[in-house]
Symmetry: C2
Subunit: 201 residues, 2 copies
């Protein structure tokens, strides 16, 4: 298109890699930045570059970290024997925001998916058992999505832990708090029925 | 939050300047980039920096341009005596995508809004009349949003052109093509009634 120069097209194309951003949104963002928000644009570029230069993966839990070992792994208060297995750093952030969990994490950066060629070696599962052993873990809490890949990964972890005295638990399935029954899928409702909780009379 | 380092927070904060991006979306984008899409992240940073270094405002129409004068203004085929006034470069792109308009543009980069302290001097209106005169414009087509600010700006432009023999037109209001009546506001429906078009029997 004559109205978009190659340099502008390049920014649009780069922004389209972001989750949930298609061509239309990327174009809107790019024109917004280049028109009247050039300081913001420069800030985005430099902050990304600084983060790429400093943020790495924690050697213990594979969470994103500025240091070799992340704040959670280096915090002695969080060595309570619990280890929560999550798929992504975003899941970790979501759990941290609840301020209910006080243990440590293990970030897989993916789920087992043989059909996509993702086996145990593609995830961080090689360092999982050493991590469990060295950190004196007594309970592994699996907090993975309830998908085929999530279930396969949970099954793999349960096999890894077989024979050890480490307890293996999984987050409860059920109706989301504040959610409406009509919008919840039938598998979830079925699970919620099966695991219904007795109320005090 | 312990789980987000200062460098990560900085990227999240920078991305929040983008239109339609709140804290939650910015966090999701940032973790996506820093986790498994570092090449994409670097591409975003460098493409923004390159665009900032090269993309400027066209000296004639104020559209975004790599050169002093943009491709549309330097294209002799588009010197057909028509000048379309738009608010933003994004509006220009939207019109170009229709491939119906063959004339030139004038990008205001805003609308008159005395309440926000935006007068004619804050927009590009100072160069508007010289542009109309020097380019042999015979028709000015106003393509501004149908808001209070858009109407005020249209009125200001009509006053600027008073006494000249330049025709002033405005894009037609009406029901969007493919739109449902139930979702269109009553002002639009009223306009569509007023300007109804006779059909061949």
């Amino acid at each position: 298109m004559a109205s978009l120069t190659p340099r502008i097209e390049q920014v649009i194309h780069a922004l389209q890699c972001l989750p949930g951003v298609g061509r239309k949104t990327a174009t809107r963002m790019t024109l917004f930045l280049l028109q009247g928000h050039r300081d913001d644009a420069a800030h985005i570029a430099t902050s990304i570059e600084e983060a790429l230069a400093t943020v790495t993966s924690c050697a213990k839990c594979h969470n994103l970290s500025d240091a070799k070992v992340c704040d959670i792994c280096s915090n002695p208060k969080r060595a309570n024997g619990q280890l929560c297995v999550v798929e992504t750093a975003a899941d970790l952030v979501a759990i941290e925001e609840t301020v209910t969990y006080q243990g440590r994490y293990f970030v897989l950066h993916g789920l087992l998916s043989p059909i996509d060629g993702i086996g145990p070696d593609e995830l961080n599962l090689g360092t999982f058992l050493p991590c469990v052993r060295d950190s004196g873990i007594r309970e592994v809490i699996v907090a993975l999505n309830a998908t085929v890949e999530g279930d396969a990964t949970t099954h793999f972890i349960s096999e890894l832990l077989e024979g050890s005295d480490v307890a293996l638990t999984q987050l409860a399935h059920g109706i989301p708090v504040g959610g409406e029954l009509g919008y919840v899928n039938s598998r979830t409702i079925a699970q919620a029925f099966q695991r219904r909780v007795k109320l005090d009379a």
